[in-house]
């Protein structure tokens, strides 16, 4: 039996012992996860620096603080999330219990990505644990230091049978995908996303796919470009452009493009100083393959800013391209690098048309003082999420579901949405073995009279407080007695 299969079987056996179900156990595991983040922050930061040149201040900010907040939220809200959720009743079920009971799914497979290798594994894991599941964790092998660290740390803090870490490359991932899970949570690119879903389909396993796309960023003409460009610069060049919701390209009027380039240049200087390469705050491409992929996109384009690169260091300077059209090479795939094309559009109509001609992206950004324009952009385009007048933010609000649509993915998570996504929401109807008189309307032999009674009972719905319910129950009992007389 392969190592992967063993890990999955162990997780399933551990799940079947039911020890992941009690809320106290889930809280204890989440607290242990919290401790791991606090105690091992340095090691995590060191691994991330080796993988992506993230500096020690960036790591807590972007990877860890968000996770701690999610853990806190889960700990606080777990009793509420896991409790039965009552549903409205009809007259026919007035004396019954009608509710939805969240339950664990079973064994969840979490496949992480390499760009935020810690967060993109731990965040779904928080949801999986909170929902009472077991989880097999497969960090991306591309961010190898973080993958190795996760393999060492997680078993030290959380239950190692319920939450095993499986490391490895493509063959190991394929072997994992041959096993049967109760949910597969994948973060990554479309091509692999399709393979993951196909593999899951063989076992009828539901999936959550957090994929990518080209997130457009529309800048209206009348904007304070210094604020706008500072925000865009922050979001675009963070992690060397390797963020799934980074603004991929800008759509704006030709007349402001010059100023946009100027303002981005100013912001870059503010953020990274004069010599970008030596700035501790500027990241690197994850590896040579991605370095080559992104530098190839620059061929034949007009570089308005940046363009320098160093292969040995996987360094690509923050770059802005102008004169880009819809058919340019750089507009055919998600850039996932520090290259920002500026595409000219004459109007917001043209921008909307341009966006709608393409696959639905994971995020959409619009900068404008005109709230009507913003609302129009939201209404006439589709994307996973939208942030107006800033970038990335909708990711950080736990109350908002985060996920894609169309080619950018399916399913969503964060906060309670993680819990719900990784639970089975089971509908329950608890009746008693009395009040049979009313039920008699549905039994054969059928008659027209019975039919009219049945229509009455089934079509009415009530929304009542307890007092109202009692009053109605009394009336109902009287009615039931009447019905019983007619049909018994």
């Amino acid at each position: 039996m392969s190592m992967e299969k063993q890990a999955v079987e162990r997780a399933r056996t551990a799940f079947l012992t039911r020890r992941s179900r009690p809320l106290e156990f889930r809280a204890q595991q989440l607290k242990a996860l919290q401790r791991m983040i606090t105690e091992k922050e340095r090691d995590i930061a060191a691994a991330l620096k080796l993988d992506l040149n993230k500096n020690e201040f960036q790591t807590p900010l972007y990877e860890l603080v968000g996770l701690e907040s999610e853990i806190q939220l889960a700990l606080e809200k777990l009793p509420e999330w896991a409790a039965p959720r009552t549903a409205e009743k009809t007259l026919l079920t007035i004396s019954d219990e009608v509710y939805v009971q969240p339950e664990p799914l079973g064994v969840v497979l979490i496949i992480g990505a390499w760009n935020y290798p810690f967060a993109l594994v731990i965040q779904p894991l928080i949801g999986a644990i909170a929902a009472g599941n077991a989880a097999v964790i497969k960090p991306s092998e591309v961010s190898e230091h973080t993958a190795r660290l996760l393999g060492e740390l997680l078993p030290q803090y959380i239950d190692k049978d319920l939450y095993p870490v499986v490391n490895g490359g493509v063959p190991e991932t394929q072997e994992l995908l041959r096993q049967r899970f109760d949910h597969v949570f994948y973060t990554g690119n479309c091509a692999v996303g399709k393979l993951v879903m196909e593999a899951a389909a063989r076992h009828l396993t539901p999936v959550t796919l957090e994929l990518g796309g080209k997130s457009p960023c529309y800048i209206d003409k009348d904007c304070d470009l210094s604020i706008v460009c500072r925000r865009i610069t922050w979001g675009k060049y963070m992690n060397c452009g390797q963020t799934c919701i980074a603004p991929d390209y800008v759509l704006c009027d030709q007349s402001i493009q010059g100023r946009v380039v100027e303002e981005i240049k100013k912001a870059l200087k503010e953020f990274y100083g004069d010599d970008l390469k030596t700035s501790p705050d500027y990241g690197r491409m994850i590896n040579q393959r991605h370095f080559k992929r992104v530098t190839a996109l620059l061929e034949g384009e007009t570089v308005a800013l940046g363009g320098e690169s160093d292969e040995a260091d996987c360094f690509i300077a923050p770059t802005v391209l102008t004169g880009v059209t819809g058919s340019s090479k750089v507009m055919q795939e998600e850039i996932f690098g520090p290259v920002l094309p500026l595409v000219s559009v004459g109007s917001v109509d043209e921008a909307i048309r341009f966006i709608n001609q393409r696959e639905k992206p994971l995020a959409l950004y619009v900068f404008s003082y005109d709230s009507k324009l913003i609302k129009r952009m939201i209404a006439e385009t589709s994307s996973g999420g939208v942030t107006a007048n800033d970038v990335l933010l909708h990711y950080s609000i736990s109350a908002l579901p985060f996920g894609g649509v169309g080619n950018s993915g399916m399913g969503s998570y964060h906060g309670k949405h993680s819990f719900d996504r990784l639970s089975h929401l089971r509908s329950c109807l608890i009746k008693s073995l009395n009040m049979e008189a009313v039920n008699k309307v549905r039994y054969p032999p059928h008659s027209a009279k019975k039919l009219s009674w049945a229509r009455f009972f089934i079509l009415k719905r009530v929304r009542l407080g307890t007092l109202g319910r009692l009053a109605l129950l009394a009336a109902f009992v009287a009615l039931a007695a009447l019905v019983a007389q007619r049909f018994l």
Binding site: Y272, P280, Y282, F367, L393, L433, N434, Y443, R461
Partner: protein, 502 residues
Amino acid sequence: MLPSPSSPSPARWFRTLRRTKSTEQSSKLSLSVCTELLRKSREALASGRTLREEFRLSQLEALVRMLVENEDEFVDVLHKDLHKPRFETVLSELILVKNEALFAVNNLKKWMNPEYVARSLVTSLDECFVVSEPLGVVLIIGSWSSPVQLNLVPLVGAVAAGNCVILKPSEISSHTTELLQRLIPSYLDTECYHVISGGPSDLTDLLELKFDHIFYTGSRATGQQVMQAAARSLTPVTLVLGGKNPCYVDRECDVGIAAQRIAWARFHNAGQSDVAPDFVLCHTDVQARLILALRSCLLQFYGPEPRHSASFGRLVNAELFTHVRDLVLASGKVAVGGEMDEAEKYIAPTVLTDVLESDPAMQQEIRGPVLPIMTVYSADEAINYIRRKEKPLCLYVFSSDRKVISNMMTCTSSGSFCANDSVLQSMMVMLPFGGVGASGMGSYHGRCSFNTFSHRKSCVLRNTRVECVTYLRYPPYEDRSLSLMMWASSLSRRSQAWCQIL
């Protein structure tokens, strides 16, 4: 890019020949026809009319009118397809859909409004909300056992959510499908909603096309095929799949009433239901009484000759008849019923006892008016049996002991659960209905349908004018800014957003 049409093979030629025999109005399920309908639907979608609340309301109201004005025709076709009594058609098909449509009409405004979420200190200047938008063009493939309800209830959800729809009812319930093909264009917008029909081999062709959501009710094998095809274009799916729904009868229970409820559930529509109890696990102490009670119920429901009862159905086709007949002949002993007539596709309401786990009736989904009863010696034994099998769509338990009910619920998993009755939980507008594990994924009914056919888009509208707080997040990163941020984030621990510092 469209696949090029294959050269005409004899099989394909015969299929085409068969199809041309059907009525002029029906849409022949050829790939080019479907592609054209898909294109038309996308164009209609792009026109934006389905985004308007008035449009969706008018379509839903038209659907209700269609059911009300043509009630007799629906009763007639369902009688032809399944020998369904008027009562069942009206109650479990037409009223169910009407209920869903009216519920959507009454709540559409609320559902279409953005949902604002909790704000925190810093986001108090911003608007954070979730807005529901249509997915696009939805493919709904309904099953034949309750052909009206299984096609039109998802249609209600898809229409309410603002999608365009291609509806493919089953060719097995051919009269109903033909009626839907005829009626729907007369009531609903002909650019946005299309009805097609075809056989299982045509499904493969259809699944080559790109939809924005596929809703499928039917068998596991086809469910897998649908999901695999959907994976190739990253299309989300909702699958409601059949299986064996267990029903445990405890020794602490009013056997007479339990028998009535079980008999009604199992034998309505001649047992052809995805949600009825498929088999009973009966506590040994009450088995004899249960069988007697079932016998007496059946007599009361259908009289001494169920074949002559207007309230009892027939199997939908010869293939199913053979399947059920073979199961009966190879499993246990007939305690009640057992009479069959192949020409009429009639099988009497039948109860089997002395059934073993290895019998075909306990291994395969029955889909007919046959109820196997397997003896168990305790509730725990029943639980262990259930847990050994795939997660079913529905799970039933009859007991007056709350602890037994509670235990059964916590120790098992199923799409839905009902204690002391059956089927009802699948008819309620306010309870999501769907499967889990091998019985499917996703759910629908009521608001849940609307959500299933929508994309819930998260939006944050930020203020451009207040920049000071955001300075903390920009490089260069230093110790000073980090401790400020950590302090600010400790404030955020109480709330739901860590974007304080962003």
